[in-house]
Symmetry: C2
């Protein structure tokens, strides 16, 4: 079987888990389940598909050290850093160059580093189908079976069944985040999956699409490719990134790629997008409360009660509220409005309280 | 005019302001308004009645140091410590012995050290009336005009107007904390005041009542009185307190005292009994939120948002909730249920988490 390489993308500096996530420690570096970081869990769940010697990550310069600490078994040379964030198309192109150089015939599995999966077995089974299909040429994406009319994700509409693999389909179209009416319609009609940003392909197949659709990106990265393994690498990388235009793999590559397939999967996937989604990584108690750290929970249901290991949160008489304690900052918000933490971050910035971010 | 001595009782170790109040720092030592401790404010508001050289406090041994720090201008010899808490009757008797020895003819004003008063002028005017009346013999108590049917306080029923002073009345009876029906009836009928634990009297008048009604307490304190100012004092105090039965001034002395008067007063008094009463010391903003420390308050009304000076609490979408942050513990509770913090304390104890108390 072809060698499989895993590439975790640890890009975002997201603030949706503030006050636990901070600029210095973004979401993928949080152990939201109290055991391992989302980044480490991303690798752990695919250990049956690839050995640790084939693990890679692409991370911002400033997080490289913390990412290495979070997954110490990863080969140091396979922690690829980006001088600036340029969205996913360049990050995956950078990884493709490195993986291709290391293993010409490899298949590359690209995974966001900050998601959760309840059923890793089903997830890996789908990835194996995707890997087999990718060996034949196309860029394959995993499509998450939608469970409700989410408007926060892009969707993938399936076309005909792919004759070359079971449980695989042609892609009819990629749809950007829909409005609520469209999302409802997608769910009702069927044949739509959530786009989870999971891609499986030969590096050469991806780079060929980049060359065709994003020729400037391809050209800018050529000096980087030539400098891999030489002292000139960092300078070449800095020069290239300086000039790059940010573009996502979805917009820049997938929407118009020549050969694309989707493998639908039900695996308890979550992008763990806010405190409201904490149940994706941590089981609620009998009253529906998800608890982390020391807690006294009296007469309260359906809450998130979160603190550090040697800290205490006490709640009484609450319903559907997230309470998140850190030593210097606490957040309290109804779970359903947890995504509005963005407004709080904006106000903290306006107040000049950067020390809390 | 007779010399007036102020005695602040800083007894309780109360937990009603947990997690800000801890065993090591009870309520009277909190600066709930962000400016001064309740203890310091207790003295400040009566500065027009007595000089600091006539200020006294009675506190538990373990809090003596913090109390001295909170009111550094108080003469060191006038910080009276108790080896154990024995409720108010012994604490006031101890103060009476000391004040009497220092100033035979003084009037003693006994004040709980953890209350708030919005209108110190009205408060002091009432105290002045009480002082004048006490010079003639009776034990005088201030009666707070009730503003609602509170069941958490004792009540004082007024009798006939006292011919010896304006705005003073005989006391018909002291009533223990009533049930809600009685409290409503008191309010409807009028002539009832809240018992705020504020007493004005000659030390000798109080000690005479103690001798008559609590002869064991009186006898036990004689060796202490004899040892004041000698090296034997601390041992005498320890021996006496060891044997004392706890008893309140209300039950032990006032209910059956021979000569008692009440001076009703409207002065914005509060016993600051829970987080729900924080508005008694700190003004709410336009949305009814009482805020202490750094706070981001979005779309929230009628909340208490409390943290230390260099800490941040962010709330969004809350109504009538108290959020209290400390570095190692946070409390979130609907304001109306703030007194149930007792249940939380009990659970913390059962969990063996004494470090948070």
């Amino acid at each position: 079987m072809t060698a499989v390489h895993i590439v975790a993308l640890g890009g975002g500096s997201g603030t949706r888990f503030w006050p636990v996530s901070r600029r210095s420690r973004p979401k993928q570096l949080l152990a939201l389940d109290g055991k391992r970081t989302l980044l480490a869990a991303t690798f752990e769940r695919v250990e049956s598909i690839a050995p640790v010697s084939s693990f890679w990550m692409v991370v911002g310069d400033e997080y490289a050290e913390l990412c290495r600490e979070a997954v110490p078994e990863i080969p140091a040379a396979q922690v690829l850093t980006e001088p600036q964030g340029r969205n996913t198309a360049p990050a995956i192109a950078l990884a493709a160059l490195h993986v291709k150089r290391k293993a010409e015939d490899a298949i590359m599995v690209v995974l966001p580093a900050d998601h959760a999966v309840r059923d890793p077995k089903a997830f890996c089974a789908a990835l194996k189908i995707a890997v087999k299909l990718a060996e034949l040429g196309p860029i394959v994406t995993l499509g998450i079976e939608p469970t409700f009319a989410e408007t926060g994700y892009g969707y993938i509409e399936r076309g005909a069944a792919d004759p070359k693999a079971e449980h695989a389909f042609a892609v009819k179209r990629f749809v950007e985040k829909p409005d609520p009416i469209c999302a409802q319609a997608f769910l009702a009609r069927g044949g739509f999956s959530w786009n989870a940003g999971i891609f499986v392909m030969r590096p050469s197949a991806y780079l060929a699409e980049v060359q065709r659709q994003l020729p400037e990106l391809h050209a800018a990265l050529q000096p980087v490719a030539a400098a891999i393994g030489t002292p000139a690498y960092n300078d070449a990388l800095a020069t290239a990134y300086e000039s790059l235009t940010p573009v996502s793999i979805d917009k820049g590559v997938m929407e118009h790629a020549a050969e694309v397939a989707v493998v639908p999967v039900e695996c308890g996937w979550s992008d763990v997008g806010s405190w409201n989604a904490l149940k994706a990584v941590s089981d609620p108690d009998h009253a529906g409360n998800v608890i982390h750290g020391n807690a006294v929970v009296v007469d309260s249901n359906d809450c998130v009660v979160y603190s550090g290991d040697d800290q205490l949160v006490a709640v009484l008489g609450l319903e559907g509220v997230a309470v998140v304690h850190t030593p210097d900052a606490t957040l309290v918000v109804p779970k359903k409005r947890a995504q509005e933490v963005r407004e709080i971050i904006a106000r903290i910035e306006r107040q000049g309280w950067q020390r809390y971010l």
